[in-house]
Symmetry: C2
Subunit: 232 residues, 2 copies
């Protein structure tokens, strides 16, 4: 039996963010889907890695808090930021009731390459995480599912790349995130038929005989349809 709460204030509200970028894995040159984690220095879960975040701020919207925490942790601005889910199971923290509104973000690869790291901030391959504090492994699993589902029906892959890119670079983003090889000719046909891409007049500079053409996304439509909420 539960007692009717007199207000919602006995529950603490936190904001965390799953930040995705494509970065070279630590021990190889292979680029993998990566997320930055923060090592906890206090109980509970002292020494464990967790998602960047903190308490919600009464004077800031939830999305602003998520973007600010993202910047404080990594010195990066997200190319895409969206609310993932409010995690509110009763037993998810051993020190009291905490509801976490979780966001997920994508950052450009070139930005992610200069992201801050330190003793207590480190990037991990998103599919090979250690045991995290709280229910953060479950949260990352859900964010991975949302990212992969959304990549199939939106233009969100753009947020991993810079302003212009080759079709080969774009295909590699899909291959790395979806973890499966894609046929280059099919991929080219699909992308050229989708009207989401615009061919620029530029080509990759370098010594090659026939350097590949650079494309950009058609920015007249949003990356994802958010309906009446509009872009985050």
């Amino acid at each position: 039996m539960t007692t009717e709460a007199q207000s919602g204030a006995a529950i603490e509200l936190a904001v965390s963010t799953v930040i995705f970028a494509l970065r070279p894995a630590e021990e190889s040159e292979r680029v993998v889907l990566s997320i930055p984690l923060v090592r906890r220095t206090r109980a509970p879960f002292a020494g464990r890695w967790t998602l960047p975040g903190g308490w919600a701020d009464p004077e800031e919207s939830l999305a602003d808090t998520a973007a600010r925490k993202l910047f404080e942790t990594t010195r990066l601005q997200p190319a895409y930021l969206e609310q993932l889910y409010a995690f509110g199971d009763v037993d998810r923290s051993p020190t009291g009731r905490i509801v976490s509104v979780v966001y997920w973000a994508l950052v450009h690869a070139d930005q992610a390459a200069r992201a801050a790291e330190g003793e207590n901030v480190r990037w991990f391959a998103a599919d090979e995480l250690p045991e995290l504090g709280f229910d953060h492994n479950r949260i990352v699993d859900y964010a991975l599912w949302r990212l992969r589902t959304k990549m199939e029906y939106s233009r969100i892959a753009q947020a991993f790349l810079g302003e212009t890119f080759t079709l080969s670079e774009l295909r590699q983003v899909y291959e790395i995130v979806l973890q499966r090889p894609l046929d280059p000719a099919n991929f080219r046909r699909q992308m050229e038929g989708s009207r989401a891409l615009v061919a620029t007049e530029e080509r990759v500079t370098g010594g090659r005989h026939r350097p590949p053409r650079l494309y950009r996304y058609d920015t007249s439509a949003p990356l994802v349809d958010h309906g009446p909420l509009g872009p985050p």
Copy 2:
């Protein structure tokens, strides 16, 4: 500039639910997509209609609170319940900072027909609402968008119907929610080809020469793919 919050407790946490059902409109026999609203008896927004809900309960998960409030307001059990979004703009309540985790629910038409109503609980056509308290018009708009988007790619329409139904009844659910007529022959072909429906041996009872067959959904798969979070 914002001051770093020492904990998340200065923000109050509420849970509200947008409850959809198909019900006859008040002044006609026409069945419309409907939601129950609760009239506020206190400031702020005294006298205005708002979504059913209340404060989050420290001893209950958010989804349990949503289901309990739904039952307390309507005496109904939801056939489908899913988290919609956490609304956390700074100025959404005039009396302090409130974050609302909003759920949306579908209830069976036969249940909705016996839902409790009273002076301060009434069903409204979801597309013809008065001006609600707080940001609840915006919340309903978003829930409507989510429902309509999801009906296009999931089996969620089932949650509006009973266990068995005719193809004509199912088509009417789509027509009422999506607000456009569907070609009966095309609809039949799509549904029979989708493998989501199972034809039963039963037919509608009554005096007709060739009574229509009853179908049921294939319950071996969930209504919607929730990924790693599983069904709500």
